[in-house]
Amino acid sequence: MQIPDRIEREVRIDAPIERVWALVTEAEHFGGWFADSGAEIDLRPGGAMTLSWEEHGTVRARVERVEPPRLFSYRWANAVDVEPREGHSTLVEFSLSAEDAGTRVRVVESGFASLDTSDQERQRQVDDNTKGWAIQLGNLAEHAGRALA
């Protein structure tokens, strides 16, 4: 019986690895393609991150690993305005590798099975998060559309 606790995705990009690294790790870029209302990234292990969405609010994250230009990972909270601590966050890892003249980007999000179910605050966070989810999907689709234009 396969029970997934992680999501893995890949994309091949026709751009040099240094450029992709900059887009993934520099707040001014990251805040545009990942979120829609900006980001802050203190780019060092343990550094604080925020990701903001116009309609939804700000999600906090913490930088885990920074190994230019190949590996960037962070742990982000599973709800807005909470600390990205164990049991309330999932881990996101971006792995970049040069491939021909381009770059392969692999992203792994993991830790869904470690989300804490024991406290009551969780229920509220889940409710909030679920509410925001539909809005968020719309935002992302719209942003992807803009990027295409």
């Binding site: 099975a113 969780r122 925001g132 942003h143 990027a147």
Partner: protein
């Protein structure tokens, strides 16, 4: 933002996060229907521990149970697993959208 975490999914992933519980669930799925005693005889886990794990699985909506004589027979309810798979597919498609946006941005000018 982060993936939707409806309450039943959070309980579900937590329930399935434990390897022993996954083993209990797999054993149950293989047998179709079984008592706690039968599962304990098949796994290197005590009956009280199996009962505890079954409780967690039941709260996550993963079990059906019926009484037969003095025994309770458990079976797997697949619906929550299917629903979780669909949910993870939504999370995955969210990543596809983001990576597409990254690609477009990187390849422009």
């Amino acid at each position: 933002m982060l993936a939707a975490r409806s309450p039943e999914h959070v309980d579900l992933f937590a329930a399935l996060g434990d390897p022993t519980r996954r083993a209990v669930l797999s054993a149950l799925a293989a047998r179709g229907e079984a008592s706690a005693t039968a599962i304990a005889s098949q796994l290197p886990v005590s009956r009280p521990a199996v009962v505890k794990h079954l409780g967690v699985l039941d709260r996550a909506g993963l079990l059906d149970e019926r009484r037969q004589g003095r025994e309770v027979l458990f079976s797997v309810r697949p619906e929550p697993l299917e629903s979780a798979s669909r949910w993870l597919a939504v999370v995955a498609s969210e990543w596809d959208r983001r990576l597409t946006a990254l690609k477009r941005l990187a390849e422009s000018s």
